[in-house]
């Protein structure tokens, strides 16, 4: 098999929407001189693996676990500027912290209501069981955007404010009208998948951890083919390595296309936008 045939095997056959990408300024060894450079390097590396569109959110360059409202605002301005560089590629999400619920809802109003960001990102400041998330979720429902909530189930112990999949299920039950993307399928594992079976307003994204065999297949079997979406968590992970979890899965092509594109388009209300 020559290299072009091999490359064709590991490339998707249709468009790909990656729901979880960070600017290079947030993670890793990348020396980025400008927002423009950040945007175009992500676009270039994504294209090499077949990624068409990206939901992008910054956690602020130093990634503080409990960011201030000012840091969130700066992070959000960064990804808005990335969208200005390539509006056909980037769908920015608004990063807020439930430690400051009032400021968070004001920032969501600015970014989603005003700037038309595509969703809201929550990380590790507070667990999803915290009541500080409630006004954020209510605002997400009012503005009709999904919330992407980080979650992991770490053998080595979660951070104090880091959600487990059970926490995300609790959030989903408290806010049944909200559309929730739970990040990190491979961080949640078999136990985490099970926590989401009875919460139909949650989809799981395929990132988090290594490209372990069979995890996407189990997620589809337990949650259904419409509750799994592709994401890379780039630059922490490689676009192609994470795509391989879906492309290499033992699943029908129609299901793979839904994971890589259709499900995210539906959740983001981008129907018809290819």
């Amino acid at each position: 098999m020559d290299l072009s045939a091999l490359r064709a095997l590991v490339r998707p056959h249709g468009p790909v929407l990656d729901v979880h990408v960070h600017p290079l300024s947030c993670f890793g060894p990348y020396r980025i001189g400008s927002i423009r450079e950040d945007a175009h390097r992500l676009i270039e590396t994504g294209k090499r693996s077949g990624v068409t569109k990206m939901c992008v959110f910054s956690l602020y360059p130093s990634c503080p676990y409990e960011p201030t409202p000012a840091q969130c605002r700066e992070a959000n301005d960064y990804v808005l500027a990335m969208r200005d560089e390539a509006p056909e590629t980037f769908l920015p999400f608004c990063y807020v912290t439930p430690v400051f619920p009032d400021e968070a809802t004001t920032e969501i109003e600015r970014c989603v209501g005003g700037e038309k960001m595509a969703g809201i990102k929550l990380w590790v400041a507070r667990r999803a069981t915290d009541p500080g998330l409630d006004p954020i979720m209510e605002k997400a429902v009012a503005l009709d955007v999904p919330v992407l909530q980080h979650a992991w189930l770490k053998t080595t112990g979660n951070l104090p404010g880091e959600s487990t999949p059970e926490d995300v299920a609790d959030l989903a039950r408290r806010h049944p009208a909200a559309r929730i993307i739970m990040a990190h399928l491979n961080g949640a594992g078999y136990r985490g998948i099970e926590a989401l079976v009875d919460t139909p307003n949650v989809v799981v994204d395929t990132s988090g951890g290594d490209p372990e065999s069979g995890m996407v297949e189990v997620a589809v079997a337990r949650l259904g083919p419409h509750r799994v979406v592709y994401d890379s968590d780039a630059p922490i992970r490689h676009f192609g390595t994470t795509l391989g979890k879906t492309l290499g899965a033992v699943l029908p092509d129609t299901v793979k296309r839904d994971i890589l594109w259709g499900n995210a388009v539906r959740i983001l209300h981008l129907a018809g936008d290819a």
């Binding site: 098999m1 590991v10 490209p211 065999s213 922490i236 992970r237 390595t241 290499g248």
Partner: protein, 250 residues
């Protein structure tokens, strides 16, 4: 011809991965992997990992494209016999050790390494099998420090030493040792991250990198993608096949 220097057979405690020899072989063949260095997964958890080596010798006997890579435990009585067995199998290119699972460190291995250095075999030292955050809570195994493996290679210049399962950052940090120690190599079976292979090629260690997939624990397509999506034909070919052909004379 693509050579995968890090493939396994058997079952694993935390994953439902199809690890029988025929499934592993067929799965790798889909992606053009035609030469498979195969080790037994069960060896990680056995008090006597040598018992499981029979499986990979049998697989190598059945399929010419499989090369048995037995797991040795240098703290186990009789490792000399197991090493001799590996030497007598003409198609066996190297032996593998899992120090973290055996409860020893690369610091303790000078007699063992000196013995392998007198043979034609290489030594693969496994840094990790799975992310410690994803391990079973009652079976937590830390990573092996890659610096210790480099030190081992430095003390045993006649021994071809392969770092197996190290992260991109660990390999980048080890760049100077990989450049200066002619007997030290690394597989890319767990080198993840955006532009992972590009950064290693830019670090001018292309000639020290070997393709590994960590199949069946990891998805083969993922391992292939990070090499072929980002690298030009020349660099990809060096990592996928040429380095292994040169180092192992296969």
């Amino acid at each position: 011809m693509i050579t995968d220097v890090c493939a396994w057979t058997g079952t694993w405690n935390t994953l439902d991965a199809p690890g029988d020899v025929d499934s592993v072989r067929a799965g790798l063949r889909v992606y053009g992997v035609e030469r498979i260095f195969l080790s037994p997964l069960a060896a990680a958890w056995r008090p006597n990992p040598h018992i499981d080596n029979q499986r990979v010798y049998e697989a190598a006997g059945r399929y010419p494209n499989i090369r048995a890579v037995p797991v040795l435990d240098p703290t186990l009585s009789g490792w000399e016999r197991e090493l001799d067995r590996a030497v007598r199998h003409a198609a066996t290119p190297m032996v593998r050790i899992l120090p973290a699972y055996g409860g020893y460190t690369p610091d303790d291995l000078d007699v063992f390494c000196a013995a392998i250095g007198k043979t034609r075999l290489a030594l693969a030292v496994q840094v990790r099998m799975e992310d410690p955050r994803r391990q079973h809570p009652l079976a937590q195994v830390p990573d092996v420090r890659v610096e210790k493996i480099a030190d081992l290679a430095q003390r045993h210049p006649d021994l071809t030493t392969v770092i197996a399962g190290a992260s991109t950052a660990a390999l980048r940090n080890l760049r100077d040792k990989l450049c200066t120690l002619p007997n030290l190599y690394a597989d890319v079976s767990q080198a993840d991250g955006l532009d992972a292979l590009v950064t290693l090629v830019d670090a001018e260690i292309t000639h020290k990198l070997l393709f590994g997939s960590h199949t069946p624990l990891f998805v083969t397509a993922s391992a292939v993608a990070r090499v072929v999506n980002d690298l030009n034909d020349k660099d990809a070919t060096v990592i996928l096949s040429e380095n292994a052909a040169r180092i192992f004379r296969v």
